[in-house]
Amino acid sequence: MSTDFFYYIYITGKYVFFIYGLLLILIYGAGIILSNRAVSRNKKRSIFLQVNDIVSATDIPSVTLVAPAYNEGRTIVENVKSLLAIQYPFYDLIIVNDGSTDETMELLIDKYKLKSYDTTFNTQPIPTATVNRIYKSEKAQYKHLTVIDKNNGGKADAINAGINFAESELILCTDADCIIEQEALLKMVRPYLEEADQEIIACGAAIGIANDSVISNGTLKELRLPKNLIPMIQVVEYIRAFLIGRMGWGEVNGLMLVSGAFGMYPRNRLIEVGGYNPNTVGEDFDLCVKLRAHMELINKPYKVVYVPETLCWTEAPSDYAIFIKQRDRWARGLFETLMFHRKLFFNPKYRNDGLFFIPYWFFFEFAAPIVEFVGFIFLIIFGIFGFINWSTAILLFLIVYLFGCIFSTISILFYVKNFKHYSTSKQITELLLAAYLEPFLYHPVLVYAQIKGYYKILFDIKSGWGIMKRRGFNTTG
């Protein structure tokens, strides 16, 4: 009886895992086809709206870049310099000092000759932690810079403060420690200029990893591949996620996430949905879902788009400890957001969002590490009981591994064909090797971090954002 029961569980589990894996492979395959179409169309379209045309145009939407900073004293001056160098005719920069306990604020005041101004009547459509002072530079060359000094309230709260004080039509949210390409805004604003039938409620772009690259005067001078294997694998992971994943979803207007490190939104829509949610660590995912749900409810056609070019460079975690902290946080953010928006789940009122996209996120993003973890336990238990045919199992593992290698290789191929960042044979070979080592040296740690994140949520273990130690970029000049 008990053997029959075990056998029944074994057979059921086997087919569930098989079907789940097959569906994932099919989704990735569809993603490749869709993203190929999207990237090539994007390339064709870009001929008709070149950045030079936008630079010289009047009447284009104004943009405010909002960057929160918390204890960034080590890099803040250089980072603000980089953000001020961005080319755009109607551009403001708001740095929000989110109650830093180091010398961030003092450095900004000193370097950029900041002076506080009267804020008695400033309105705050989105409630935030107390804003202490607003600073503007006395120097003409920094006239586009505003610094908000506020009490600590977290990243989301800091960005909300920036959104409140911005006066532009579009808001670009980023992190103060990101290196942004000088032409980034000109490229990001394109979809807003070109779309007529649907309103663009969010626009993202690919984010690249700049560990061990050369930064001079706040701009990326020489892109190098990270020397360390962990960030190198993340380069492949980012290429795959942005080029295949996000571009593919963008093609079916199914993008539910625009990365918090680099996303552009219309200010009026941000205010309508109350800005970022400070009660989750997945505030970027939450915002995008919230915006989409809002547009569905007011019944306005909308679109979330992705620019395939890498316009923002960031420093990736370079050791396992920091990496686990980051991914644990991302997993918690995902969990929290799906919980906050559970009313969308299979709700036809939210059309595709409710019927397809949110269920996808639940079953294939949220559940994937759980399925993997359970699968691992399943393998051990049924292996001990002698149910597993090991030679078949190893062959199946090999097939899954090869599929992973093929997907990563296709992403790298797309990148080589369409972009020039990693163009030497040596760099490509290194990326391919990193991709092939990913399932052994990286993926198990990733699953561990995600499960850890879920565990924390389930057992209400307070964790917040955590501190991500950065080594800083190589700077010259």
């Binding site: 379209r45 001929i47 008709f48 145009a57 009047t58 009447d59 200029l193 090869l402 093929i406 290789t409």
Partner: protein, 353 residues
């Protein structure tokens, strides 16, 4: 049996993987060679064009010589990518030329390998080739193709019709505005911006006859375009058209109207109309923008208007009004309003206990 099947499948996946490696390798090699080729075309073009436009005494560079030079480096009909690159170089160059040299380059464009390359693109079934052809035609001022381009101004593809409409503005100037009422499809913001800019750069003298013909259009994009033109050309006599749309039902149209009116100073009568329309605007953010504008252009502050706003149930409007009053010397009114709130809602300590 299953294992044999799996082995076969693994072999297939390995073959795919190896093929991908080969494609990556070929792509890297192709890119390197292509970059070298393009550099060669670019340097040859720079050399030939500088000699053609600025010949040394006694040096006579004719079209046949230029054709031969380009042919030698592979700019021939059977290599359309090279021809396209040459066209792109010519377009890039003409943007920085004026007068006789510009004319010479435009003539050269029709004489050397591309010949009618751009014109033939208009007949292509692919949208991006068609749109590119139109773009090249207007960039190189090939006005003789205008009739073919007019047909494309209502094309289903947004890029084709955009390029066609820009071409019409370039070739026909203000007269092209008469097509506005016949356009069936939406215009993007970029389309409007580009049309206004081309009109301003190439036809700086306004012709109100054609502009006013477009006033009757009920299409929102036409209204927005007309308002942008009024703003760009600073057409003070046409401000009433913008005023008419300040409280339009469409958010985007209102947004354009507020943006456009902001660059004008208004007469007393117009200001009164604007203040009346202010209360019809359903969006607070737009109302606040308008309040700031009214404050900027008013010589005398309308205390009645601002006090009415100060008492508004909308806190943002009330606060913005308070700011304007405070900064214009009406501190007492603001203080009175805020202190008055305490007496209006006295706190009953006993109740709260």
């Amino acid at each position: 049996m299953i294992e044999t099947l799996l082995f076969g499948f693994i072999k297939l996946l390995l073959v795919i993987l190896v093929m991908l490696w080969i494609i990556i390798g070929v792509s890297i090699i192709y890119r390197r060679r292509r970059t070298r080729k393009l550099q060669l075309i670019e340097t040859t073009f720079a050399d030939v064009i500088s000699k053609f436009l600025y010949p040394l005494p006694g040096e006579n560079i004719d079209h046949i010589y230029i054709q031969r030079r380009f042919r030698k480096i592979g700019v021939i009909d059977s290599k359309p990518k090279n021809v396209q690159y040459l066209i792109d170089l010519m377009i890039r160059t003409q943007r920085s030329l004026l007068g006789i040299n510009y004319e010479k380059l435009v003539i050269l464009f029709t004489q050397i390998p591309p010949y009618g390359a751009s014109a033939s693109k208009i007949n292509s079934r692919k949208w991006y080739i068609k749109a590119r052809g139109i773009r090249e035609i207007y960039e190189m001022n090939q006005i003789r193709y205008v009739k073919q381009i007019i047909k494309e101004s209502n094309n289903v593809n947004i890029y084709v019709r955009r390029e066609a409409q820009i071409a019409l503005v370039i070739f026909l100037g203000w007269e092209s505005l008469r097509f506005l009422s016949y356009l069936k499809r939406k215009m993007t913001l970029w389309q409007q911006i580009k049309i206004v800019e081309k009109l301003h750069d190439l036809h700086p003298k306004p012709n109100l006859k054609y502009l006013q013909r477009a006033y009757g259009s009920d299409k929102t994009y036409a209204n927005e375009l007309v308002m942008r033109i009024i703003r760009k050309f600073n057409l003070i006599t046409e401000i009433d058209y913008i005023l008419k749309h300040i409280d339009n039902f469409n958010f985007e149209t209102r947004e354009s109207a507020i943006y456009c009116i902001s660059s004008f100073y208004l007469s007393e009568e117009q200001l009164i109309v604007l203040k009346e329309k202010f209360f019809n605007i359903p969006k607070t953010a737009q109302q606040i923008l308008l309040m700031k504008y009214i404050d900027k252009i008013s010589f005398e502050k309308d205390l009645v208007f601002y006090k009415k706003l100060l008492n508004s149930s909308n806190e943002l409007i009330s606060l913005s009004s308070a700011e304007i009053l405070w900064n214009n010397g009406f501190q007492e009114e603001v203080q009175e309003f805020y202190y008055g709130q305490y007496s209006r809602h006295p706190i009953n300590v006993l109740d709260s206990v």
